[in-house]
C-alpha cells in the first residue's frame, strides 16, 4: 500500500471515528440522566397516590 | 383577495406608523449600519482594487445585521398588552398579518439600505451611477428575501425564551443562498459590470428564492402562529 500522506489518512480516520464515538458517549450520558429522571418521577407518582 | 390585501395593508400601515412615531428601530439600525461602513472605510483603502472585490459583500453584511435588528422587533413588539393574541383573533388571516408585517419591514429596510448605499458611494468612491437602476433592483430582491425569512422567523420565535439568539441562528444559514447571490451581483454591479451571461444565474437564484420562500412562508405562517 502506498504510504504517502498516510499521516493525513490517520487524522482523517481518527476524525471519522472520534465524532460518532463522542456522540455515543453523549447518548449514553443522556440515557443515564433520563433513567434517573424516570425513576424519580415514578417515585413522585407513587407518593402522591399513596395517602 | 381584496380582503386579504386590505388587511395586509392596514397592518403594514399600523406598523409603519408606530415605528415612525418612535423611530427606535430606524435610528438604531441606521446608526449601526453607518458606523460599520465608516469603520470599514478606515480599515481599507477606498481606492484599492480589494475594495472593489469585497464591496458587495460588505454592503450585504451590513444589510443583514441591520435587518436582524429590525426584523427581531417585528413580532416582538406585539407581545406587550396581548396585542399578538388580539391580532391573531382578528378577522385578518395569519397570512395577511404576516404579509402586512413583511411589507412594513421591507419598506423600513429599503429606506435604511438606500441610505447606506449612498453613504457607501460617498466614502468608498463607488461608481453607483453606471448601474444604479439594476443595483436598486438587486437590493430590493435581496431585501425581500431577508424580509420574508426574517419576518417568518420573527413570528416563529416570538414566544421563545432566547428569541434574540434564536432569530439570527435560524435566519442566517437559511439566507446563505440569497446572500451569496446578492453579494455576487452587487459586487459586479458596483464595478460597473452589467448583468451578463456570467452573473445572470445569480439573479435567477435570487428570484427563485424570493418566490419559493414567499409561498412557503405564507403557507406555514398559520401553523406557526396558531397551530
Amino acid at each position: 500500500m502506498d504510504l504517502r500522506n498516510s499521516q493525513f489518512l490517520f487524522i482523517g480516520f481518527t476524525a471519522a471515528w472520534v465524532i460518532p464515538m463522542v456522540y455515543l458517549i453523549l447518548l449514553n450520558l443522556r440515557d443515564r440522566k433520563l433513567r434517573r429522571e424516570l425513576d424519580r418521577v415514578k417515585r413522585m407518582v407513587e407518593q402522591s397516590t399513596k395517602p | 383577495m381584496p380582503g386579504f390585501l386590505r388587511a395586509a395593508l392596514a397592518i403594514a400601515a399600523k406598523d409603519l406608523r408606530s415605528e415612525l412615531r418612535t423611530k427606535e428601530v430606524l435610528n438604531a439600525s441606521l446608526a449601526f449600519s453607518v458606523t460599520i461602513l465608516l469603520l470599514f472605510s478606515f480599515a481599507f483603502d477606498p481606492s484599492s482594487e480589494e475594495l472593489q472585490q469585497i464591496g458587495g459583500g460588505l454592503l450585504w453584511m451590513v444589510f443583514a445585521f441591520a435587518g436582524a435588528l429590525t426584523l427581531n422587533r417585528s413580532f416582538a413588539r406585539e407581545t406587550q398588552n396581548d396585542c399578538l393574541d388580539a391580532l391573531i383573533a382578528s378577522p385578518a388571516s395569519s397570512s395577511a398579518l404576516y404579509f402586512g408585517k413583511a411589507l412594513a419591514n421591507f419598506a423600513l429596510l429599503m429606506a435604511i439600505e438606500v441610505f447606506c448605499l449612498l453613504v457607501f458611494g460617498l466614502f468608498y468612491n463607488a461608481r453607483l451611477a453606471a448601474q444604479f437602476g439594476t443595483i436598486i433592483l438587486v437590493i430590493a430582491l435581496g431585501t425581500w428575501a431577508l424580509t420574508v425569512i426574517g419576518t417568518m422567523f420573527s413570528a416563529l420565535t416570538v414566544n421563545l425564551r432566547l428569541r434574540e439568539l434564536m432569530l439570527p441562528t435560524l435566519v442566517y444559514p437559511l439566507m446563505i443562498p440569497a446572500l451569496m447571490a446578492a453579494m455576487t451581483l452587487t459586487t459586479d454591479l458596483l464595478a460597473g459590470t452589467p448583468i451578463n451571461n456570467e452573473n445572470r444565474i445569480w439573479l435567477r437564484v435570487l428570484l427563485a428564492f424570493d418566490v419559493i420562500f414567499t409561498a412557503l412562508a405564507t403557507f406555514f405562517v398559520d401553523t406557526v402562529l396558531v397551530g
Binding site: L3, F8, I11, G12, F13, A15, V41 | T169, P173, F220
Partner: protein, 232 residues
C-alpha cells in the same frame, strides 16, 4: 414487555453485524484496494467520506418528511422520529465535512472550497443544528414539534436551492470535484467496496436512531408521568 426484548435483540444484532462488516471492510480498504496515482494513502478516506454524505443527506431528507407527516397527523411519534433521524444525520454530516476538509487539504492544498456539495452540506448542517437548538429552547412538546417541523421544512428547501445554484454556477466555472472517477466511471471493485461500507454505516446509523428514539420515548413518558403526579 416482549416488544422491548425483541427490539433489544434487533439492536444488538444490527450493531454486531455492523461491527463485523466494518472490520471486514477495513481489511478490504487497506489491504485489497489498489493505490491511487497521485494522492498516496489519503484517498482511502473516500470509503467513509461518501457514505457519510449519503447517510447525512438522506437523514435530513427523511427528517423533513417526518416533520411534514407530524404537521399533517399531529402524532408526536413522527416528531420523535424526525428528531432522532436529524440528530444522527448531523453526526454523519459532521464526519463528511471534516473528512472532506482533510482530503481537500491534500488534493487542493486548501482546507475548504466553495463547491456545490461542500457548501450545501455546511449550510444543511448549520440549519439542522439550529433545528436542535430551537428544540432545546421550547419546553412544551406540541409547540416544540410544530415549530421545529417548520424549520426543518424551510431548511430542506433551502439546501436544495443552495445545491442547485452553485451547481449551475459551477457549470460555467468548473472546479475540482472530490471523486475517483476515471473517465466517467469508477473502478467496479472500488464501487462495490464503497457500497459495502455504506451498508455497514447504514446499520450503524439505524442502531443510533433506534437508541435515540428509545430516549425520546422515555422522555415523553417522563413528561406524562410528571403531569400525572402534579394532577393529584
Amino acid at each position: 414487555m416482549s416488544e422491548s426484548t425483541v427490539r433489544d435483540k434487533v439492536l444488538f444484532g444490527l450493531a454486531g453485524f455492523a461491527a463485523i462488516l466494518l472490520t471486514w471492510n477495513l481489511h478490504t480498504i487497506f489491504l485489497v484496494m489498489p493505490d491511487e496515482l497521485n494522492q498516496g494513502a489519503i484517498w482511502r478516506i473516500f470509503f467513509f467520506h461518501v457514505p457519510a454524505a449519503l447517510l447525512g443527506l438522506t437523514g435530513f431528507g427523511l427528517g423533513m418528511i417526518f416533520s411534514l407527516t407530524y404537521l399533517f397527523t399531529n402524532n408526536l411519534r413522527y416528531d420523535a422520529i424526525a428528531e432522532s433521524i436529524i440528530e444522527v444525520a448531523l453526526v454523519f454530516a459532521a464526519v463528511n465535512l471534516v473528512t472532506g476538509s482533510i482530503w481537500a487539504r491534500i488534493i487542493w492544498g486548501i482546507w475548504w472550497a466553495w463547491d456545490a456539495r461542500l457548501t450545501s452540506m455546511l449550510v444543511c448542517w448549520l440549519i439542522f443544528a439550529g433545528y436542535l437548538m430551537l428544540r432545546r429552547a421550547i419546553d412544551e412538546p406540541t409547540q416544540r414539534a410544530r415549530l421545529s417541523a417548520v424549520v426543518s421544512i424551510f431548511g430542506a428547501v433551502d439546501v436544495v436551492i443552495v445545491w442547485k445554484s452553485i451547481e449551475w454556477w459551477r457549470t460555467q466555472h468548473p472546479a475540482p470535484v472530490l471523486s475517483i472517477r476515471n473517465g466517467g466511471g469508477m473502478d467496479p471493485g472500488m464501487e462495490s467496496t464503497m457500497y459495502w461500507n455504506l451498508l455497514a454505516l447504514f446499520c450503524f446509523a439505524v442502531v443510533l436512531v433506534m437508541v435515540r428514539m428509545r430516549q425520546a420515548r422515555i422522555s415523553q413518558e417522563i413528561d406524562s408521568l410528571r403531569r400525572l403526579a402534579h394532577s393529584y
